[in-house]
């Protein structure tokens, strides 16, 4: 196998697709090579819309949260005019980070180095010892904080794009917008991120996590111990549930986004009751369901309530609408290491008992100490370490389900193929 910069990155395609054989192959150096990551930073993280945060995380004027996104240090700051804005977290003087807390509230932020002060609109409004600069030196916002080229929100999900020529966010989201609607519509009063952030990491390439997040094929083996847990949890399994028929399936949503939609036996705070939640939980779930039906119609309420969705927004945002609602975004640091941040999303004004079950549920499967995620991480790390068997063993196989393109089952791999096809396009685009 040739070095990627000589073959793949300079050529047309990295992936190999053989429709005759129904075979789809991805080169393993895509997960290990620094040159690939450098290129990804330019062509993917430099051009795609990237998730920064949810508007509910900065409810009041002056609220801010600092985030690392696409290799940049950003912060999200709600203006005194109520508008959420995103800035690069760096002073326009000599570069110090002006936002030093992870979150907080301020009308102004003063850079700790030489004291330049910025307001919530990013304006450089004050600096000690202004002499030594021409009178108009700071005029016309010349030294104001700098924002990413584009900042837009869709249903309170705030994204940035570092490419001034990027398409608008809604166009970018393509078919994924419909799925964000299914999430955002769950709260009568809107949705909010709950307190507490799961900050963790994986010793694996970022693309392995994207693949894993909608990989139905691995559930039975990798999560065998989770299913043991479910069986041992009296009253959790719904009587009528047939684990061999989860319905739905995976599909591509355009632009590399994808979803798998399926049914599962666990409780959904919106709005699938399980006996564990008792009679008061049953009454509350019935109320939630009735409210959904009244507001959105029976059909849409059923879709929201009865189906689980793992939603993949290219390149690095995963929303799991499953036993809870997760917003999980991740950032590559090196080819073999990624950083994750996950929060729990919930309807505003949710009944405290349901909120408690939602958070309890989240921990059951998900997160860095759940009964499933650590096993996922183990799998990704086993892959990453074993990619050292290059060049002799050089290709991953992502072919499952290619022989039935019209009926993609939940354990097929169409959602990963849609990722790789988009990845391939973007990585080849700037030749």
């Amino acid at each position: 196998m040739n070095k990627p910069l000589e073959s793949g990155l300079g050529g047309t395609h990295f992936i190999r697709i053989d429709p005759q054989r129904c075979e789809f192959l991805v080169p393993r150096w895509a997960f290990t090579d620094q040159a690939v990551l450098d290129k990804e930073r330019e062509e993917i993280f430099g051009r795609c819309w990237l998730y920064v945060g949810h508007a509910s995380e900065i409810p009041k004027a002056g609220d801010f949260v600092a985030r690392k996104v696409g290799g940049r240090q950003l912060f999200l700051w709600r203006g005194e005019d109520g508008v959420p804005r995103v800035y690069f977290n760096t002073c326009t003087h000599r570069g110090a980070m002006v936002c030093r807390e992870k979150q907080g509230n301020a009308k102004r932020l003063t850079c700790p180095y030489h004291g330049w002060t910025f307001d919530t609109r990013g304006g450089m409004v004050e600096q000690p010892g202004a002499s030594g600069f021409p009178d108009d030196f700071f005029a016309n916002g010349a030294k104001d904080l700098i924002s990413p080229a584009k900042v837009e929100a869709y249903r309170d999900f705030v994204f940035v794009n570092f490419d001034p020529n990027a398409v608008d966010l809604t166009t970018y989201l393509a078919g994924a917008a419909e799925y964000l609607d299914l999430v955002a519509d769950q709260g009568e009063l809107g949705m909010e991120v709950t307190p507490g952030e799961q900050v963790y990491s994986m010793r694996a390439n970022w693309k392995l996590l994207y693949e894993n997040s909608a990989d139905g094929y691995h559930a039975i083996t990798a999560h065998a111990s989770y299913f043991d847990y479910l069986r041992a949890t009296v009253g959790v399994f719904r009587e009528d549930f047939d684990p061999h028929d989860v319905g739905g399936g995976g599909k591509s949503l355009g632009n590399g986004h994808a979803v798998i939609e399926y049914q599962a036996p666990w409780g959904r705070p919106v709005a699938q009751w399980v006996p564990q939640w008792g009679e008061s939980g049953r009454a509350e779930i019935a109320r939630v369901k009735a409210e959904l039906s009244a507001r959105l119609g029976e059909q849409r309420a059923d879709r929201i309530a009865n189906w689980n969705r793992n939603i993949l927004i290219f390149p690095n945002l995963i929303i799991n609408d499953i036993m809870g609602l997760t917003i999980r975004s991740f950032q590559p640091v090196t080819p073999g290491y990624l950083e994750v941040s996950a929060v729990s999303l919930a309807p505003r004004g949710e009944h405290p008992e349901m909120r408690a079950w939602r958070q309890y549920n989240f921990n059951e499967f998900l997160g860095p100490a759940g009964f499933a995620t650590p096993d996922d991480v183990e799998m990704l790390e086993l892959c990453q370490q074993a990619y050292q068997n290059m060049p002799e063993v050089g290709w991953n196989d992502i072919s499952k389900g290619m022989n039935r393109p019209d009926a993609n089952q939940g354990d097929d791999e169409v959602q990963m193929r849609s990722f790789w096809i988009r990845w391939d396009e973007l990585m080849g685009a700037a030749r």
Binding site: G196, S201, S225, Y229, A232, Q359, F362, P368, P374, V377
Partner: protein, 160 residues
């Protein structure tokens, strides 16, 4: 009521730690009362309420027993084979003590080694202990992490 000394409480904590270091997780689970809980709040909110905030671990008795059981199985892939784990316990203080039980604070360092990686968890831990006919039992173990997120650890797969 005879007050327990710090040394007696330390013996109990050392016993708990030894069980965990030896992967005797089912015996560890038996140290809890029927209404026992095991909690790890998010690193940014050590004092958070488990019913409102997103925790890292939020185990009631049922789930902590299941966690212990899971860790005895080969299918708990992340801990098969088991990593090497070592707890060290310092600064033990009895904060409160009455007929029913005690509140005990300690600093704990937990090391976990697997596949050439060594992860260090810096913890301050609050045990709510119950005095029972069978000796001390854990009503609540709350482990607060003095680290800025689980990086590079990535996870808590062993019991802290």
């Amino acid at each position: 009521m005879a007050l327990l000394t710090r040394a007696e409480v330390e013996d109990f904590l050392y016993h708990e730690a030894a069980l965990l270091d030896e992967w005797k997780t089912m015996e560890w689970a038996e140290l809890f009362t029927e209404d026992g809980e095991y909690l790890v709040p998010p690193t940014d909110l050590p004092d958070a309420d488990k019913n409102a905030a997103l925790f890292i671990i939020n185990d009631d008795h049922h789930r902590l027993v299941q966690r212990a059981k899971r860790l005895t199985r080969r299918t708990a892939h992340v801990e098969f084979p088991h990593s090497k784990v070592r707890h060290t316990i310092h600064n033990v203080r009895i904060l409160e003590q009455d007929e029913a039980g005690l509140t005990v604070a300690s600093n704990q360092i937990v090391y976990r080694a697997k596949r050439q990686n060594l992860d260090t968890f810096v913890c301050h831990t609050i045990h709510q202990l119950a005095r029972t006919a069978d000796g001390l039992r854990i009503r609540s173990k709350r482990v607060m992490l003095d680290i800025d997120g689980l990086r590079p650890h990535g996870m808590i797969s062993a019991i802290l």
